[in-house]
């Protein structure tokens, strides 16, 4: 590999990373503005136009607040936990294609961090690792509320991962590949001349299960039991403050972005649009924009849901996971298998 190749690889990976890290604080702003919108109140509007400068102010605040490490906590793990959370969230993005290939420097550069043959599995592997951040945070804090949050998180994520994977298995089945670019390519065309060949059409049930599970996986309302502020003060991050707390916040938003990107990739054709054939640099840029738009839409749905729905009880959460979503995912899988059997897809 030449130096150019290395450079391209680095850019391929680092640019989206940078974008995400930039976008995430903006999501914090968007969430608060969205909350204001939905709850009929202003939200942040004092610092800068539309409160946009709130972001750097908050960042500065996080940097300079006192970083408290509780006594009797497990210091190493306490410090490690938020790192794990952010790391697991960010690395997931590596296999998600964020655009069509870019012709540049005499090469056809795929717009993806790492084109793994087991892309989907990689995503799930890292998602399952993300639970460690929360669990460890809960345990290391040596705090009852934190521990409860950690416990809830571990049980919840394992439970919903089942439904999520099973729903995704339907997509894998219909695309007969674990590579995410393959999955996108499989959704490129039209059905009957007008219907986009997106997986969401035949597998709407699967999409619903996947998306609902994504809420649980990211610990978002209505499944934010690990931090449930009404019961557990702050859940697993009760003891955290300053930058470490910021890292948990960041991990949460990165997770949301990744979950949405994945949803888009699996069910909504990723960067593709029916009738759109990316050509050249412009095509690549357009594809990136399409992907970003789709992802942003689902991120806004996340925010919308957060300020709309109440929180479930823990037993309700478990019941939905095991008795509703998992069976539905299985039904979806059977349905896809049947469709393949009769050669409709």
């Amino acid at each position: 590999m030449s130096a150019v190749d290395w450079l391209i690889l680095a850019l391929r990976v680092l640019i989206p990373l940078g974008v995400i890290l930039t976008v995430v604080p903006m999501l914090g702003w968007a969430e608060r503005r969205g909350a204001g919108l939905i709850q009929d109140r202003p939200g942040p509007n004092r610092v800068g136009p539309y409160g946009l400068l709130q972001l750097p102010v908050d960042a500065v605040k996080f940097f300079f607040k006192e970083d408290v490490i509780p006594a009797n906590s497990d210091k190493v793990l306490y410090v490690l936990a938020p790192g794990i959370a952010v790391f697991a969230a960010l690395t997931t993005f590596a296999v998600i294609p964020y655009g069509a290939s870019l012709p540049a420097a005499g090469r056809d550069i795929p717009l993806i961090g790492a084109d793994l043959s087991i892309g989907v599995l990689y995503v799930f592997a890292l998602t399952s690792l993300s639970v460690y951040g929360i669990v460890l945070a809960g345990w290391a804090s040596n705090n009852k509320f934190s521990l409860m949050g950690g416990l809830r998180s571990s049980a919840q994520i394992i439970s919903y991962e089942l439904a999520m994977t099973t729903a995704a298995a339907g997509v894998i089945l219909s695309s007969s590949s674990l590579r995410l670019p393959d999955i996108i390519w499989a959704q490129e065309r039209l059905w009957l001349g007008f219907l986009p060949r997106w997986n969401v059409v035949p597998q709407f049930l699967g999409f619903v299960v996947f998306f609902v599970s994504a809420f649980a996986e990211t610990n978002r309302v209505p499944f934010d039991l690990p931090e449930a502020d009404a019961e557990l003060v702050g859940g697993y991050h009760t003891e955290y403050s300053a930058m470490k707390f910021a890292m948990f916040m960041m991990a949460e938003y990165v997770n949301i972005v990744v979950a949405c990107a994945l949803t888009v990739t699996l069910y909504f054709g990723g960067w593709s649009l029916p009738g759109f054939h990316p050509e050249g640099i412009v095509g690549a840029i357009v594809s990136i924009l399409i992907f970003s738009a789709k992802t942003l839409f689902f991120v806004l749905v996340f925010i919308w849901v957060r300020w709309t729905l109440p929180r479930f009880r823990y037993d309700q959460l478990m019941r939905i996971g095991w008795k509703a979503l998992l069976p539905l995912a299985l039904v979806n899988l059977l349905w896809v298998a049947a469709l393949i059997l009769v050669r409709w897809i």
């Binding site: 592997a125 890292l126 399952s128 690792l129 345990w139 950690g150 416990l151 571990s154 991962e161 007969s176």
Partner: protein, 165 residues
Amino acid sequence: MERLVFDAAAALTILFAGLMVMHPHPVKSVLALVVSFFGLAVCYVMLSAPFIAAIQVIVYAGAILVLFLFVLMLLNVGEETRGRERPIQRWLSAAALLVFAGLLLGLLRAHGASAPLSFGPLSGDVAPLARLLFSRYLLPFEALSVLLLAALVGAFVLAQREKGA
């Protein structure tokens, strides 16, 4: 290059496995094992078994060890206490382990096994593996699914609180 990565990952695996055994606190043990298994997954990738590597991370790190952690936290198990026990178990175990390790080393040395792996026909693709799994090994696969169901029911029954208790 591959050998270097493999050896590094293997060293990491062994190091953290050792840490897991040494550490008196079960929670730390589990965490050490997570790292160790992560290293093992890297080893699998290097041995052109990416699917197994992914499964390793998803099932072991993502499910089994989380379950361990869950139980440890639920039971709030603390550090191992040094109970009174006859030392014969320790000494005999240590001696036997030394003998065993010596035997393994001897066997490795005697039977070479220094030949490099031939990766020729093997690619990291999942499809051939799936084909094998769903054709020749279909019956074990189905049996396994029954086993998992049985384990599910069994675990449920075992962990259920006894009625009236």
